[in-house]
Assembly symmetry: C2
Amino acid sequence: MSKINNTSFGEYIKQLREDKHLPLRKIAAELDIDTSTLSKIEKNERNASEQVIERLSEIFEIDKGELKVRYLSDKITYQLLEEKDGIEILKVAEQKIKYYKKNDKH
Amino acid sequence: MSKINNTSFGEYIKQLREDKHLPLRKIAAELDIDTSTLSKIEKNERNASEQVIERLSEIFEIDKGELKVRYLSDKITYQLLEEKDGIEILKVAEQKIKYYKKNDKH
DNA sequence: TTGTGTTTTGACAAGAACTGTCCAAATTTA
DNA sequence: TAAATTTGGACAGTTCTTGTCAAAACACAA
């Protein structure tokens, strides 16, 4: 199983930021976004763009792929949380992705 | 593993419709949507609303839950098809959903 | 407590994405 | 060929997302 825990994307980057005792203001400046936007990203109230994710991975020196996994898994979780058959939906999606990858259809 | 094959949602309902030799026009009327909209749904170019999915399940006498699984797994597959770590993202999402369900947090 | 820096919230306009709708072109069927 | 079916493009209306700003709420040292 994966080692990524159940911390949300927002909570995770907030944690990274606080570990380094940096204010939102500073990170937001480095990301070239508004402080309030970053605040909302940390509270999972706004999307993080591809660019923001990339810069975050640089700033905190973490793998970009891992960060994307955290981000996108969060989004999918959110989409399925109210669904009765959430887990089955994921299983079927997994089959489909494997099928498409196998057959080179992207 | 699930028994749902790798047919897309659109292809699937198109198949159901053609098996009964019914024109788009008729089904669209029953769904109370435009013929061209149904055409696009069958080609996966438009979203199917909750209501449309429900009516489709009635018209073709299939389980609504299964139809939703087909529909939503398609959407998720599409979101992840270009991602390098698609499968891992699904695994992490699965953990998260289980975690939330266990802790009753919806 | 006041003052200073930080974080959160709500509002707003601009832009993007999605919807239902119509019509004409293309395709299929008879 | 003619009729029916299917598809594609265009359109306005709506909803959702975005970046931006300013004020409110908060934390906390002096």
